[in-house]
């Protein structure tokens, strides 16, 4: 199975150094959504910056960006 990397970006990039093995890009989308919700759970900020400053960028193991989304577009499930 291919590896996928889920980086968080504002001015800095917080690297997903470990990556995750997943069957395909659809699975990577679903994974990205769950991770984004977990990160936002009860949290207003990441590294002291509002979620509206952050986006998630998903790369394959050759470093190609497959898709990205703004973290503020993800529902956190706790109204934040």
């Amino acid at each position: 199975m291919p590896m996928y990397y889920f980086h968080l970006r504002n001015q800095d990039t917080i690297q997903d150094v470990d990556g995750t093995e997943l069957p395909d890009t659809d699975a990577a989308r679903a994974h990205a959504d769950v991770v984004a919700r977990e990160l936002k759970f009860k949290a207003d900020t990441f590294l002291d910056e509002a979620w509206s400053c952050w986006s998630m960028h998903v790369h394959d193991d050759e470093g190609q960006e497959l898709f990205s989304f703004r973290m503020s577009d993800v529902e956190s499930g706790n109204g934040k």
């Binding site: 889920f6 968080l8 800095d12 917080i14 690297q15 997903d16 150094v17 470990d18 995750t20 994974h31 769950v34 991770v35 977990e38 990160l39 759970f41 009860k42 949290a43 990441f46 590294l47």
Partner: protein
């Protein structure tokens, strides 16, 4: 030789709290054993035949879900023990228990420890008191999982691990931490990277080093301070 081994049993705080003569009487039944990380101790539903007192390693209790996933409900280091309730009669493990950090453990057969509990009030008291502490901790962890964000819980958990094994150098895999916190591994990686970005930890695959303990305490939820080993028993009126 006997003295050296007695002192290693005393690395466990519960055993250290027993009168020394009692520990000497127990000596012949108390064994020292080394386990690597990931060693299974109990499975849900299995009879508990032995009681484990960590000297340097750490044991986690995990509730196993139907889909095979597991979530940590308690973590036990040198301040505690697992399987103590098996002295009251034949007991079956409710949770999975595994060594999350390898190390040395004092082990005694439940039947032998039950005899000591029958014979000596201090042993019975110790079991009852520790059960109260563990119960309080379980309640705090339940609340923590429901209301606190992942970075605060991660900081809390790293500090607790450091206290339990007596080192700021933590041999913890991303997988293990994910299981402990009930989140995906990717979430752990990103949260750990953000703590590293702030200079609080050094994160590498399979290893976390605490660099700035004071800051890490500030980033942890209040649960860390509440559950601190030397504070929680006193808070609920328990003295060992």
């Amino acid at each position: 030789m006997a003295n050296a081994s007695m002192s290693s049993h005393q690395d466990n705080r519960l055993l250290a709290a027993l009168p020394r003569q009692m520990l000497e009487v127990m000596g012949r039944d108390l064994k020292e054993i080394s386990f690597v990380q990931g060693r299974g101790i109990y499975e849900p539903g299995e009879p508990i035949d032995e009681i484990y007192f960590p000297q340097s390693g750490m044991i986690s209790l995990l509730v196993v879900a139907k889909d095979g996933g597991a979530v940590e409900t308690a973590t036990i280091g040198r301040e505690g023990a697992v399987g103590l309730h098996s002295v009251w009669g034949k007991r079956f493990s409710f949770t999975r228990a595994t060594t999350q950090i390898g190390g040395k453990f004092s082990v005694i057969r439940s039947a032998a420890f039950a005899q000591f509990a029958d014979d000596y009030t201090p042993v019975r008291d110790l079991i009852a008191r520790y059960t109260e502490v563990l119960w309080a901790e379980a309640q705090q962890i339940a609340a923590c999982n429901a209301v606190h964000d992942t970075p605060a819980r991660l900081c809390r958990w790293l500090l607790q691990c450091a206290d339990r094994i007596g080192s700021t150098n933590l041999p913890l895999t991303q997988d293990l931490i994910a299981q402990m916190l009930g989140v995906r591994r990717t979430t752990v990686t990103l949260e750990a990277q953000s703590l590293q970005h702030k200079g609080l930890i050094k994160y590498a695959r399979g290893h976390i080093n605490i660099l700035d303990r004071e800051q890490l305490e500030r980033c942890a939820c209040e649960c860390y301070a509440i559950m601190q080993q030397e504070k929680l028993p006193l808070k609920i009126g328990v003295r060992f």
